[in-house]
């Protein structure tokens, strides 16, 4: 018998819990591309991003979440990137942002 839906729910905790998150993949990503740590969160990448202007995709936020061990949905979001490379042209830290997209997709493809 199907459970009756009373209209109540339990909110999932929104907090990033570093103790619970498995940082192994994040460590691997940073090991392969240490320059990603030098991100200063300026948002230039996201400001020029065509995908980001038309969809929910926010490159800065996704790679920051991945670095904190929050992998859920990251692969799907990274698929919105069209690899046009404008973000790489504007990054003041010289991060190979397109390489970051490919790396995150490769590491999290089976997540």
């Amino acid at each position: 018998m199907a459970a009756i839906n009373w209209g109540y729910g339990i909110s999932k905790p929104r907090a990033i819990d570093i103790d619970r998150n498995n940082l192994r993949r994040s460590d691997e990503i940073l090991h392969e591309m240490p320059e990603l740590q030098s991100c200063i969160g300026c948002g230039s990448c996201t400001a020029v991003c065509t995908a980001g202007n038309l969809t929910e995709f926010n490159f800065r936020k996704v790679h920051t979440l991945v670095r904190r061990g929050e992998y859920e949905g990251a692969y799907e979001l990274m698929n919105r990137c069209m690899l046009c490379g404008k973000c790489r042209l504007v990054c003041p830290r010289g991060i190979n942002t397109r390489g970051v997209v490919m790396l995150i997709k490769r590491k999290l493809g089976d997540f």
Binding site: R14, I16, D19, P34
Partner: protein
């Protein structure tokens, strides 16, 4: 007749001013309230951004003061001053032809930010504790274990109205990045997280050091102020913050929490200022006559100020300013 300048404070500012005056043929007496010269630098390990041992700055200064035969009075606490001298706590008056105030700053007392648990939980340290422990070679957790995860918190006692310290202490950001690198070198297996509001890398080589901490030392930087620290059942420290760049609350447990304490004005600045009609800035630091052409002059006749008594500064800036102060004093004495 040989002129004599009364210098209040025997830290790097006071010593360097005395040495530059000596080079200009002007004598001075240094009044130091502690038992030895050197001020805060005595307990400091290394200086950013070059990781120069503090002793490599302090020892040559002290040797030069000794070699120049500059009179140093230790244990001399000044309770009042004017343009012709200072009064010590025991009532003695030390006369001179000009006075240089080089009394420095006070480190913010981290216990006031009770929510971070300094003095309550083991393994909550201040940046000053870390320097001292690095000097002594004793840096570890209270039980002697090596920390696996370390968090630094920037702006403790800076940019915080709640503790009446609205100003930016400037040097703590750079110190936080420097110490993160030192700890990563000492404990390579540990993860290091720096919680910052803004990273203010204002000096030559500082930004480069910051980048090195990120890329070469893999130090994690999280933008957000830790709201509280609490003990976990296994004796670690749980911290909470907002990861403002992802817009999500964040929590984790750490083995060591290091509070980057700010530089605040000395409590007795008010008493000294009242005795000599000096002006204090809202931050409590002594306000120079103007920030450009008269930055080492107090505005009161014959009284000069140098170093961190007027604002937070690093060691290099203080040393350079001391040369400017000595120059201004020499000018004043010549024209008098």
């Amino acid at each position: 007749m040989k002129r004599r300048v009364v210098i209040i404070g025997g830290g790097v500012a006071g010593m360097q001013t005395a040495l530059r005056l000596h080079a200009a043929g002007i004598g001075s007496v240094i009044l130091e309230k502690d038992s030895a010269t050197g001020g805060k630098l005595r307990d400091w390990h290394k200086l950013f951004p070059t990781f120069t041992p503090a002793s490599e700055v302090l020892d040559p200064l002290r040797r030069a003061v000794g070699a120049a035969g500059i009179e140093v009075r230790t244990g001399a606490e000044v309770v009042g001053l004017d343009g012709r001298g200072a009064v010590l706590a025991d009532g003695t008056r030390i006369d001179g032809d000009a006075v240089v105030v080089a009394t420095g700053f006070t480190l913010f007392d981290a216990r006031i930010k009770e929510e971070y648990g300094y003095g309550i939980y083991d393994n909550v340290l201040t940046s000053a504790d870390v320097e001292r422990m690095l000097n002594e070679g004793t840096l570890s957790m209270k039980n002697g274990d090596r920390p696996r995860r370390i968090a630094f918190l920037h702006c403790v006692g800076s940019r915080d109205e709640k503790v009446c310290q609205r100003h930016c202490s400037r040097v703590c950001c750079v110190t936080g990045v420097k110490q993160a690198m030192e700890l990563k070198e000492r404990f390579p297996e540990a993860d290091v997280f720096n919680f910052y509001m803004d990273i203010r890398m204002f000096g030559s080589g500082y930004e480069e050091m910051y980048r090195e901490a990120q890329v070469r030392h893999n130090v994690h930087f999280v933008r957000g102020r830790i709201s509280e620290a609490a003990p976990t059942i296994d004796g670690r420290i749980q911290i909470k913050a907002e990861d403002t760049l992802t817009g999500r609350p964040l929590r984790m447990s750490v083995d060591m929490l290091i509070l980057l304490v700010g530089m605040r004005a000395n409590d007795d600045n008010r008493r000294l200022a009242d005795s000599a009609s000096l002006t204090l800035a809202p931050s409590g630091f002594v306000q120079p006559a103007d920030p450009f052409l008269h930055s080492v002059e107090s505005g009161a006749e014959g009284i000069f100020c140098v170093g961190t008594v007027t604002a937070p500064k690093n060691v290099g800036e203080t040393l350079a300013e001391a040369a400017a102060a000595a120059d201004a004093v020499a000018d004043y004495l010549k024209n008098r």
